[in-house]
């Protein structure tokens, strides 16, 4: 009856993804049936409530994948089996999975919303080119899982690290150009640092390819009324988090340039 209220659920499983990233699994009917790319507001009682992508959906369970950064994400990272969290959502529009040749560019916890997308796409697409970027080998998450999923289809994965400890040395975006020159795509999906996504978007524009990018902004209400997540005339929580090319063009004065902090003040990227 009242849906925008935390549903308390217990952490059922904690999966160590890397030394700084963990996935939490819990029971939640509604989020277990979300669209890929949708997110939830996760209440960590006594600490904070933060937006988290839905990274796992199976049966009546959902999961999130968190990197410990500040107070809230660290509290979430430190949760154990049996800890109580509050979930509301799923919120936002999510990715629009298409049938065809797709490229997916992800980095860091930006991979979280891409995982459910990947699973759907493998059942739909003829081919997936997946580019996964990161700073260093240790920080990588999901790589084995991605390989396993992709193994079912005619697909390819390219890994890049800034320090060269794994895959190609460099930025994820460095790895894209040669592929784009070689192959024609029907869609590019991306999630990761905004500057990376901006680069992906610019390259896609050059090659005249459509993009779906999942953005992040400070979120409070999660339902499109407080305005804290605004970018241009859009609210990331409601009109996003996934922006397609035409929307990205509309917000070009902000996308990759600045975001707003909790007070609404502009913060340059």
């Amino acid at each position: 009856m009242v849906s925008n209220r935390p549903r308390i659920t217990k952490v059922l499983d904690v999966i160590e993804e890397s030394s700084t990233v963990r996935s939490l699994l819990f029971k939640d009917e509604m989020c277990s049936k979300a669209k890929p790319g949708q997110f939830m507001m996760v209440w960590i009682p006594g600490v904070d409530e933060i937006p988290m992508s839905i990274s796992i959906m199976k049966d009546d369970q959902a999961g999130l994948t968190v990197r410990k950064v500040g107070e809230a994400s660290t509290a979430l990272f430190n949760m154990r089996v049996g800890s109580m969290i509050g979930i509301r959502g799923p919120y936002g529009n999510g990715f629009n999975p298409i049938i065809g040749k797709v490229m997916i560019v992800g980095a860091g916890t930006g991979l979280a919303p891409l995982m459910p997308l990947l699973e759907i796409l493998t059942n739909k697409s003829a081919s997936i080119d997946m580019i996964v970027g990161g700073k260093t080998m240790e920080e990588f998450i999901f790589v084995n899982k991605i390989k396993e999923i992709l193994s079912k289809t005619e697909s390819k994965i390219v890994v890049t690290t800034e320090d060269g400890s794994h895959g190609i040395k460099g930025l994820a975006t460095d790895a894209i150009l040669p592929i784009l020159r070689e192959k024609r795509f029907d869609m590019i999906y991306t999630c990761g640092p905004e500057l990376m996504m901006k680069k992906v978007f610019e390259m896609a524009q050059e090659f005249n390819l459509p993009v779906q990018a999942s953005l992040e902004r400070v979120m409070k209400c999660g339902i499109g009324i407080c305005g804290s997540c605004c970018i241009g005339k859009y609210n990331v929580c409601k009109d996003g988090p996934v922006f397609n090319s035409s929307k990205l063009k509309e917000v070009k004065d902000e996308f990759g340039l600045f975001k707003r902090d909790h007070s609404g003040k502009r913060v340059i990227f």
Binding site: N4, E49, I50, K220, G222, G227, G232, K233, S263, G264
Partner: protein
């Protein structure tokens, strides 16, 4: 039958229709406010701006309850100077823009108005009624002396109309309303949210980080209608009704109670921005059905009974 006239005028500020976006909803940027205007609002109000930046409260800042929402955003805002940079007359254009201001003392209001006044702002709304931020809202809004000083000194600083937004969290809103009127308010916005709380029974905890927040939405509508009715019978300045308006029927109820215009906030959570268009059409059809020429013709009609 002739097309009814939806326009209203409040202390010289002319609006094409009587629907305003309530403060604190989508009011962070001019781009958002423009979108709301394009969706059909007759005027839009920014979120409340203070002298200094405030990050506001930690999340959770919002939680749904039966018939409404609790919020304790905590007056987060970038501060008047940063906000000034956000605005510019070329950006504002002819957007019917009202800026909402909060503050702890008269000098803060004065200072803010002196910074903003050159901008193409149509009016100010003084938020003397935020129910959950210590020292700013309700403490001010319950204190006749503070209201008098703030309204008087702000008035000295600007020629633009001043709306004063009142709190229902008082023993006698009529008394407070008269103080605001006598101090120079050009209109009264009635009302802000009501202090309320929600506790999660699984964790035993208040859900909002600030514990107490403000209740908005349909749940408070009959209280707001009562406040508008009582106040509008006791003051001469126009009333802007606010609280739980979700349908055109709700808006009409406020006009009949004595409001000359109405603000819409929480309804957007239920209905999206389409709510402005729907309410506007409903008011128009109602006026035709009741053979009234304009919104003005139904303001305060319930007072006759």
């Amino acid at each position: 039958m002739q097309e009814p006239d939806l326009s209203v005028e409040i202390a010289g500020f002319k609006m094409k229709n009587p629907l305003m976006l309530a403060s604190g909803i989508l009011g962070t940027s001019i781009a958002s406010l423009k979108k709301v205007f394009e969706a059909g609002a007759g005027a839009v109000i920014t979120k409340s701006i203070g002298y200094k930046a405030r990050v506001g409260y930690d999340n959770p800042t919002l939680v749904e309850v039966h018939g409404g929402y609790l919020n304790a955003i905590g007056l987060s805002n970038p501060g008047v100077k940063e906000f000034y940079d956000e605005l510019s007359n070329s950006k504002i254009g002819d957007l019917p823009l009202v800026v909402s201001l909060f503050g702890a003392k008269p000098s803060e209001f004065k200072e803010m108005v002196s910074i903003l006044d050159e901008l193409n702002i149509k009016a100010y709304e003084l938020n003397l009624s935020c129910p959950h931020v210590k020292g700013f809202g309700i403490e001010v809004g319950q204190d006749p002396k503070a209201i008098r000083e703030i309204v008087k000194s702000t008035k000295e600083e600007t020629k633009k109309p001043l709306f004063v937004k009142l709190s229902p969290n008082v023993s006698d809103i009529v008394k407070i309303a008269k103080v605001a009127e006598n101090s120079g308010a050009d209109a009264l916005t009635i009302m802000n949210t009501i202090r309320a709380m929600s506790i999660d029974i699984e964790t035993f905890r208040p859900i909002l980080a600030n514990k107490i927040g403000g209740l908005s939405g349909p749940a408070i509508k009959p209280i707001a209608v009562r406040c508008v009715y009582e106040v509008s019978r006791s003051v001469r300045i126009p009333i802007i009704g606010c609280g739980g308006i979700t349908s055109w029927q709700d808006a009409i109820e406020f006009f009949l109670a004595g409001a000359r215009a109405v603000q819409i906030g929480t309804a957007i959570a239920y209905e999206g921005l389409g709510v402005f268009g729907k309410i506007k059409k409903g008011i128009r059809d109602y006026l035709i059905m009741k053979e009234k020429e304009s919104v003005r013709d139904i303001v305060g009609l319930s007072h006759g009974f």
